[in-house]
């Protein structure tokens, strides 16, 4: 099923003519009136849904058909009758065209015969109400639903339907809930949480009508006898209605805790300790080994949910913190050696970060376990990457101000974006400044530029750990495919990989053999992941330099400039020109902020401009450096810029200008641009030491201009 075929099918739907549409509506109205149930009518209704779904314009369903749709729903108000296909399609169509003025009108008229508000909550009508826009309708429905939830004697499955509606509506429309209603629902939820029976329900499909099955209790998830109150982690062959209420109550519990706000009266929420008890019970159950492997997934999810519920509880009332904190710490100690549970561990981390301060607990140990060990092992796991970035972003200020985790383990963080570049760019633009300090800045600068290199190294490691995949390498790869892998396995070059794949920062800004590493990874430079990695480097670089410009300080910039100069010709990327352009522009900005750095960087700059071969590989960058020299080499910017300093620069610039001019004349080579020559000339003029014979200058300028004019630049 290719994209073109699917698109073709939907194009046909969109091009339905007005007449065809009118026919369709008429057919449907008639069929609904006649209560048709045949396959053809079902197909017609499906067609209508798909048509409505394919349009973005407001629905043009005729009034009479709209009435028929609502009327059909209103007929079905018995609790345990399963809706048929037609009824389900009515719901689907009405939801699809909602919200609209038409659907709103039918919700409002709940006192007339078109009412869809029957005496008990229906799994058909409530979903349509939830898709409306009018908060008056939602509030009115909510009141009725809460009444059903809190009334004894209403069918449990109807109460579940009502509870789910109240949860989703309350979550997205909190104003539909009054302050009195929230604790009413919560009290009911907690009652359902803790009051289910322990007997398994009988098999509803059994044919043994005369044989009474003996009652059995539910078991724990590992098959052992049940040890406490019923929870969703207990196993029964079939579940009784009250047990279903428990399961659903737990499932919505956290959403209701999120609705608690500081204005709620504490007196009304005195049932909260029961939640803590229930969660402790469930947590204990989550450490049992599942008898059925399929339950491991839900066990992990329930574990995470429990931690989040307890976290929410402690945020509502700090009295819960001490006892809960002990439990959390014990959980963390149990899990600190198992990186397969990294995401669950992260939920524990969140709790510790939220409440550790009040317990005088330093989160450093657990943070180190996660960011060093776990992240190091799981950096190629997309799930762990996503959860880590989400966690760091949500807790950025705390992690930055109260811990040193970001400054220590940023190499592991970089691995996440190296593995999945485009997915995390905007988050990293936020996170990056928090990792940059005077100690880490240079190292991070190197890391940003080497991000594609990191992606390539990670690919190599992955390939190496799955040797069977080597045979399956796609045919369009370079024939030197194994170079990177051979290098990884070579003991002489392995240390290069060890460096780029390090977990922790602060062990050296970069390595002296970086060029070797670039070379051995050259076979992967066109790998899709490496290319995508290279494409995000500009955004990260810009963010880095904004941070440096704002908060770096003169001393750091002074250290950074020689590194910038060095790296302009030491890049692992197919986009070297783009990177050099950014470095040029940023260098200019840095000199603008700190013009006196020209004197501090004298030796570096002189070395750069003394050699013509430094020019070719980075001409644009060179032009910017020369311009900066001309602009800022002046006693007006720095009192140290005396006659000797200026003369030294002047001589070097003049010499270079002559060398390049001569080379152009002799070789007629166009590798030097007119822009370079004219920038050189203007800078030479600016740094001329006084006194200086002007005719000498005029002659030089004339020669250079002739070159520019003649040489077709």
């Amino acid at each position: 099923m290719d994209a073109a075929s699917v698109d073709g099918v939907f194009r046909d739907l969109w091009e339905v003519s007005q007449i065809e549409l009118s026919d369709l509506y008429t057919k449907l109205e008639k069929g609904l009136f006649l209560k048709q149930r045949d396959a053809q009518f079902v197909d017609t209704m499906r067609q209508m849904f798909l048509f409505e779904h394919s349009t973005t314009a407001e629905s043009r369903i005729p009034e009479s058909l709209m009435a028929s749709l609502f009327h059909t729903l209103g007929q079905c108000d018995e609790v345990n009758v399963v809706p048929n296909a037609i009824e389900r399609l009515c719901v689907a169509i009405l939801k699809e065209v909602s919200p609209s003025e038409q659907t709103r009108v039918y919700q409002v008229n709940s006192d007339n015969s078109n009412s869809v508000m029957s005496s008990i909550p229906s799994s058909l009508t409530l979903p349509v109400v939830a898709c409306q826009f009018d908060e008056d309708i939602l509030t009115k429905t909510m009141t009725q639903v809460i009444h059903w939830i809190s009334t004894v004697g209403i069918d449990p499955s109807a109460q579940i339907t009502g509870l789910l509606f109240a949860t989703i509506c309350g979550f997205y429309h909190p104003k539909t809930l009054s302050m009195e209603q929230k604790p009413v629902v919560m009290r009911q939820v907690i009652e359902w949480l803790n009051s289910a029976s322990l007997s398994q329900a009988p098999n509803p499909y059994t044919h043994k009508i005369f044989k009474k099955e003996s009652e059995q209790n539910v078991t724990e998830i590992d098959g052992s006898l049940n040890t406490g109150t019923f929870t969703l982690m207990n196993i029964g062959q079939y579940y009784t209605p009250d047990q279903m209420l428990t399961i659903h109550s737990f499932s919505v519990l956290r959403k209701w805790l999120l609705l608690y706000d500081g204005n709620d009266s504490a007196q009304n929420w005195q049932f909260l300790p029961l939640i803590q008890e229930h969660c402790f019970r469930v947590l204990e159950q989550c450490h049992r080994k599942c008898r059925v492997a399929a339950d491991e997934e839900v066990e992990e999810a329930v574990f995470q949910e429990c931690i989040s519920i307890l976290d929410q509880l402690c945020q509502i009332d700090v009295q819960f913190v001490p006892k809960t904190f002990d439990v959390i710490k014990r959980q963390a100690a149990k899990m600190c050696h198992n990186s397969d549970k990294a995401v669950s561990f992260l939920r524990l981390l969140q709790f510790i970060l939220n409440h550790g301060e009040s317990m005088m607990c330093d989160p450093d140990d657990v943070l180190t376990t996660y960011f060093s060990a776990f992240l190091g092992e799981k950096c190629t796991d997309y799930n762990v990457g996503f959860e880590t970035v989400t966690f760091v972003e949500a807790n950025l200020e705390k992690l930055c101000r109260k811990t040193e985790i970001l400054q220590k383990y940023f190499p592991n963080l970089f691995k996440i974006i190296a593995w999945s570049p485009r997915n995390f760019v905007s988050e990293f633009v936020d996170i990056l400044p928090a990792t940059v300090t005077t100690h880490t800045a240079i190292e991070i600068f190197h890391m940003i530029l080497d991000l594609p290199c990191l992606s390539a190294a990670m690919e190599t490691v992955l390939l190496q750990t799955k040797p069977s995949d080597v045979d399956n390498l796609s045919s369009d790869r370079n024939t030197n495919t194994c170079t990177s892998m051979e290098a990884f396995l070579n003991p002489l070059q392995k240390p290069l990989f060890n460096f780029i794949l390090r977990h922790k920062g602060g062990q050296g800004d970069t390595i002296s053999r970086l060029d070797v590493l670039h070379k051995v990874l050259q076979d992967l430079v066109n790998h899709p992941r490496v290319r995508q990695s290279a494409s995000v480097v500009p955004d990260l670089l810009r963010t880095f330099f904004v941070t440096i410009a704002q908060d770096g300080g003169r001393e750091l910039v002074n250290r950074l400039i020689p590194v910038i100069i060095e790296r302009t010709i030491l890049l692992y990327s197919n986009e070297t020109e783009a990177i050099q352009t950014i470095l040029s522009e940023e260098l200019l900005l840095l000199f603008k902020i700190y013009p006196d750095l020209v004197v501090d960087q004298k030796d570096e700059l002189l070395e750069l401009i003394s050699t013509p071969r430094n020019v070719i590989a980075r001409q644009n960058f060179f032009i910017h450096v020369v311009w900066c020299l001309g602009e800022y080499c002046s006693i007006g910017f720095d009192k140290r810029c005396d006659h000797q300093v200026i003369s030294t620069f002047y001589e070097s610039l003049e010499c270079l200008t002559y060398e390049i001019s001569a080379e152009i004349q002799n070789t007629r080579d166009n590798k030097y641009t007119g822009r370079l020559l004219s920038t050189l000339m203007s800078s030479v003029t600016k740094v001329v030491p006084w006194p200086c014979p002007m005719d000498h200058h005029i002659m030089m300028a004339y020669d250079v201009m002739s070159l520019i004019m003649c040489a077709n630049f």
Binding site: V6, V42, V97, P99, S123, C131, F133, Y172, E297, Y382
Partner: protein, 206 residues
């Protein structure tokens, strides 16, 4: 909370949302006055906004899926693999992931996270609130996917059949395992109990 659910195409080319539903209508106007002032579009109908949101999510998933395909090796399993709940060997390999959709002034009033399972040219995508339990979202989406494949032959049918997508069956499956967009924590027995109900309810003449 699960805000909505989509089924959409993911191979390069036009990204078509074949099916979608939202479980709730979001409150609009959660933006500050300044944000609204700066928003350069006129007020758009909420239904159109929902469509735009779903389209944008589908296209973002499409990008990420194609990236994963370009970098994955043959027989390379993804690390988000969840164990098949019924050890069904016929379930295809899925690429899986999360994409974030930040709130904006045009069509998205709140931050959302979309979980997607993609294979061939189809992705099943759950659009969740950013506070949702993502592990359970994966568990439920696994289940939904299994039943879609079993009861709708959605991966095998030719393009023409897409035009007659059995939306009532899609709705039935979703209503059973993701009622009102709530992720219910289901152990294997509860799943089996609901599965039996589904088998009976889905067997109508169609």
């Amino acid at each position: 909370m699960v805000y909505g659910f989509l089924i959409h195409t993911i191979l390069p080319g036009k990204c078509t949302v074949m099916y979608s539903q939202a479980f709730v209508q979001e409150q609009q106007n959660t933006l500050s006055e300044l944000e609204q002032e700066l928003s350069d579009t006129d007020a758009v109908h909420p239904r159109t906004q929902r469509k735009q949101l779903f389209q944008r999510i589908a296209e973002t998933v499409q990008d990420e899926y194609n990236f994963r395909k370009s970098v994955s090796k043959p027989r390379h399993g993804t690390s988000l693999e969840s164990k098949s709940l019924s050890n069904d060997e016929h379930l295809p390999d899925f690429e899986k992931g999360f994409v974030k959709m930040y709130r904006n002034g045009k069509f998205n009033p709140t931050d959302k996270i979309a979980l997607w399972f993609g294979t061939g040219n189809i992705s099943f995508t759950l659009v969740c609130d950013s506070t949702e339990n993502r592990k359970q979202a994966q568990n439920i989406l696994s289940l939904l996917t299994k039943y879609f494949i079993e009861h709708l032959s959605i991966l095998k049918q030719p393009a023409e059949a897409v035009g007659l997508l059995k939306v009532d069956k899609v709705a039935l499956i979703i209503n059973k395992f993701l009622p009102s967009g709530i992720l219910v924590f289901m152990n294997h027995r509860l799943i089996r109990q609901l599965e039996k109900e589904l088998e009976i309810e889905i067997k109508d003449k169609n």
